[in-house]
């Protein structure tokens, strides 16, 4: 009699356990398309007396795989943001066949001078050469605009990224607190763990993250460089956006808990994540590329400067057809002037559109008659043009902060700059491809481990169904036995 009621109890506990497991399976199936979900399974224990119960829920989580995914995500985000900046910068270069890069325009300009030099009396050729000079100036101006807009974009993206990090850290606090307090049932606890991991994954897109688990499942977050992001409470991440980026003005650094994490000179600078990529773009790549374009502009002004033609020259050299805000003084050689390429212009006294005389390209004299190389006004005079054309091929000093050769011709400098940019883009593209693959491998590895397989869950459901049927059959059998017993007694 006692044995029968024990059997009934066991069967009843089995029904409860099976329905709990069914709930887990259906929850798993419901989340089959959720990449942040980790597959759950119910842990079953046998109680004294032979009945069973659900002791808790297991998450198929793996700290090692998750850490790998975080690193891969941060690296991939960094290389993606660098690449997208470089893609935009390479708009200034275009296809080599179109000669639309400043270097290509320089070649076109030399060709037009060459044609003019052969026929210096031809006004149409003069006009053409001046027009191409204008195109060259515009391509330098446009390159500066593009570079600065990439910087500006990077700066505002950094500011957005900082906001996002702050928001995520707030959300993280809520999730982490819930975990630490152990709120709710054990089923809910595992959901809280999921949502906390999800936030860490999102954070790792913005910057490199290391997580350290402490007592009570409490997690502290650090950047990959060791700056504390979260320990019980979120730390403040701040960066005032720069409203208007101009060449030569550096953007603000991002501070976490009072530590500079983006300046290359900082010992605590983060080395991965979107923020790192954007900072590298804003403070390194665009700055160097701008200095190269600036040096091209300065080289151009220098190559076209004119000198005093008096028998005994007394006046200093002055800027020729290419001028800038400091005209007529010729800028010091071999020293980059930030933003010069944005300010280079065609001298008004040459540009027919501004009432200038385009034959000054042939004769000089932009700064007055003493600078005129052709005082008799001979229409077939070509010596000055020959000197100018040769000047584009003559070696001259360039600023070495451009990361290009310090002594080269203006034309080689221009093509070297294009080569520098495209090499960076090629490298960033392959880095980005690699990091994307790494990331998708990590995602895949994690998915294999904690993702839901419908077939699996369906099979489990079949088992559970059978087990439920068996337990129900036991109950009805025991019931019948008890009934027979009662009938016999009655």
């Amino acid at each position: 009699m006692a044995a029968l009621s024990t059997a009934l109890n066991i069967a009843r506990s089995s029904l409860a356990t099976v329905s709990g497991q069914t709930a887990v399976a259906s929850r798993n199936i419901a989340n089959v398309n959720n990449t942040d979900y980790t597959r759950k399974s119910a842990a079953i224990i046998s109680l004294s007396g032979g009945s069973t119960a659900i002791s808790g829920y297991n998450r198929a989580a793996d700290k090692l795989l998750l850490d790998k995914l975080l690193t891969a995500t941060a690296n991939s985000a960094a290389s993606d943001s660098i690449l997208s900046g470089l893609q935009r910068l390479s708009e200034t270069v275009g296809d080599p066949s179109a000669s639309s890069s400043p270097a290509g325009m320089l070649g076109k300009f030399q060709t037009s001078l060459q044609t003019y030099e052969q026929n210096p009396s031809d006004q149409t050729l003069a006009q053409n050469a001046v027009r191409v000079a204008g195109d060259l100036v515009r391509s330098l101006n446009a390159a500066t605009n593009t570079i600065q807009s990439v910087r500006q974009q990077a700066d505002s993206n950094m500011s957005e990224s900082v906001d996002r990090i702050n928001t995520l850290l707030q959300q993280f606090k809520v999730a982490n607190d819930a975990v630490v307090r152990g709120d709710g049932s054990s089923a809910e606890l595992s959901e809280n763990l999921d949502s906390r991991d999800r936030i860490i994954k999102l954070l790792s897109e913005e910057l490199g993250i290391r997580s350290v688990t402490g007592a009570n499942n409490d997690i502290a977050l650090y950047t990959d460089s060791g700056v504390t992001l979260f320990e019980k409470v979120p730390r403040t991440v701040s960066m005032p956006a720069t409203p208007s980026m101009v060449p030569g003005v550096s953007g603000n650094a991002v501070y976490i808990d009072g530590v500079d994490v983006t300046s290359p000179t900082s010992s605590m600078a983060t080395r991965s994540g979107n923020l790192f990529g954007l900072a590298k773009l804003r403070d390194d790549i665009t700055v160097v590329y701008q200095s190269q374009i600036d040096e091209m502009a300065r080289g151009l002004i220098e190559a076209f400067a004119e000198s005093d033609q008096s028998a005994v020259p007394t006046l200093a050299d002055a800027t020729g057809i290419f001028g800038y805000s400091g005209s007529p003084a010729v800028p010091a050689t071999g020293t980059a002037i930030a933003g010069l390429a944005g300010g280079i212009r065609l001298s008004a006294s040459v540009d027919p559109a501004q009432g200038g005389d385009m034959t000054r390209l042939r004769d000089g004299g932009i700064n007055g008659v003493v600078y005129n190389y052709n005082p008799t006004g001979a229409t077939g005079f070509s010596n000055r043009l020959t000197t100018l054309i040769d000047g584009l091929d003559t070696d001259r000093p360039f600023d070495t902060t451009t990361q290009l050769r310090g002594l080269s011709s203006l034309k080689s400098f221009g093509t070297a700059s294009t080569g520098w940019l495209e090499a960076a883009r090629q490298q960033a593209t392959s880095a980005s491809d690699l990091q994307t693959t790494m990331k998708s491998r990590s995602v895949d590895a994690l998915q294999r481990l904690n993702g839901v397989n419908i077939d699996d869950e369906m099979t489990v459901m079949l088992q559970l169904e059978r087990s439920y049927q068996a337990s129900a059959r036991i109950i009805s059998t025991v019931d019948k036995m008890l009934e027979s017993l009662l009938n016999a007694a009655g």
Binding site: P96, A103, Q118, P120, R425, N453
Partner: protein, 346 residues
């Protein structure tokens, strides 16, 4: 370990994206014959591609320009040949008329015609430029000697004659000029009118500086001559002395002095014209050799650019076939995986 349903479904999807992207690139490559993103493919070597294209553009422009220069040089050479012939003819006329009756009228008329021819030849234009003007291409180098109002050349000659003999060339008294007086005049004050400095202020507006063409860095060749060269001054001197030193009314002895001096000057002039011709001829040779060299260089550059930027069409079409096959396989796998579900079998 079981695999999650999500990664099972996503695996072919990822590869489909990649294959589609590659297929689009391959199609671009096949139609243009160049890499889809040339700069990305070349990376640092983009600098080489731009340099090569630049060198090619420069040499193409030099080749075009050399064509124009050659035409001008050709015209100059033809003009010089015509001038040499003119000098020979004139000498022949002078020698024939030296001792003949009416010789003075004959040579004077011949000198007038020859002067007109000389003016026409030296003032020839091509493409809006006066070929013999040096770098002063916008002005006719030689003014018309007999023009009205009086040309500066004619007035200089008149003044010189008047100073020497105290009479004008039209004076009936020119017959009194002796041979030795004429000799002194022709080799003295008259000659002075044709020194380079005097010539440039009276007879010619050409520049001494010749036009040059730049073939390469620091490599320039002269592509013109100018009307200030000794050959043209000497020939003009011969013509002027015959035309305008009292010829027509001179005594025979003085006339013979004029003719003899003119014949000498004429032949010096034709020798000098030969020198000018050979100088320009060497420019022509230099240019045509350089053009041949550039054309060879351009052919090589074109090959190099294609090697750098181009793709092998066979390789690309093979790649397209492979990608298409791969895509088809991915599609069919996706379809099969979708069908492969325990639900369908329960």
């Amino acid at each position: 370990m079981s695999i999650s349903t999500l990664s099972l479904y996503f695996a072919p999807r990822n590869s489909i994206h990649e294959s589609q992207r590659q297929l689009v690139n391959a199609q671009t490559e096949l139609s243009t014959g160049r890499h889809a993103d040339v700069s990305l493919h070349l990376g640092a070597r983009t600098a080489d591609a731009i340099s090569l294209r630049d060198v090619k553009d420069q040499s193409t422009s030099v080749i075009e320009m050399a064509g124009l220069a050659s035409t001008e040089l050709e015209i100059t050479q033809n003009s010089l040949t015509a001038l040499t012939n003119l000098a020979h003819q004139f000498s022949a006329t002078l020698i024939g008329a030296r001792n003949s009756v009416n010789g003075q009228e004959v040579v004077k008329a011949a000198a007038k015609t020859a002067m007109e021819s000389l003016g026409a030849i030296l003032n020839v234009t091509h493409d809006g430029k006066y070929i013999f003007a040096g770098i002063n291409t916008d002005t006719a180098p030689l003014a018309n000697y007999s023009a009205v109002p009086l040309s500066s050349a004619k007035s200089a000659v008149d003044a010189s004659f008047l100073a020497e003999f105290g009479m004008s060339q039209n004076s009936p008294a020119v017959g009194t000029i002796t041979a030795s007086q004429m000799d002194i005049f022709l080799n003295g004050n008259f000659s002075t009118l044709f020194t380079p400095a005097a010539w440039s202020s009276t007879f010619s507006t050409a520049a001494d500086q010749n036009r040059t063409a730049r073939l390469d860095r620091g490599y320039n060749v002269e592509v013109s001559t100018n009307a200030n060269e000794a050959a043209f001054r000497d020939f003009t001197m011969a013509l002027t002395m015959v035309f305008d030193s009292g010829t027509g009314a001179l005594n025979q002895a003085a006339f013979e002095k004029v003719v003899d001096k003119a014949v000498t000057m004429s032949s010096t002039a034709s020798v000098d014209m030969g020198l000018v011709q050979s100088k320009l001829g060497s420019s022509q040779k230099v240019i045509s050799d350089f053009v041949l060299q550039l054309q060879d260089q351009n052919a090589i550059l074109t090959k190099e650019i294609t090697a750098l930027e181009g793709v092998d069409p066979y390789e690309v079409s093979t790649r397209i076939n492979l990608l298409t096959t791969q895509l088809e396989a991915s599609y069919s796998i996706t379809a099969r995986i979708n069908k492969l579900n325990l639900m369908n079998y329960l």
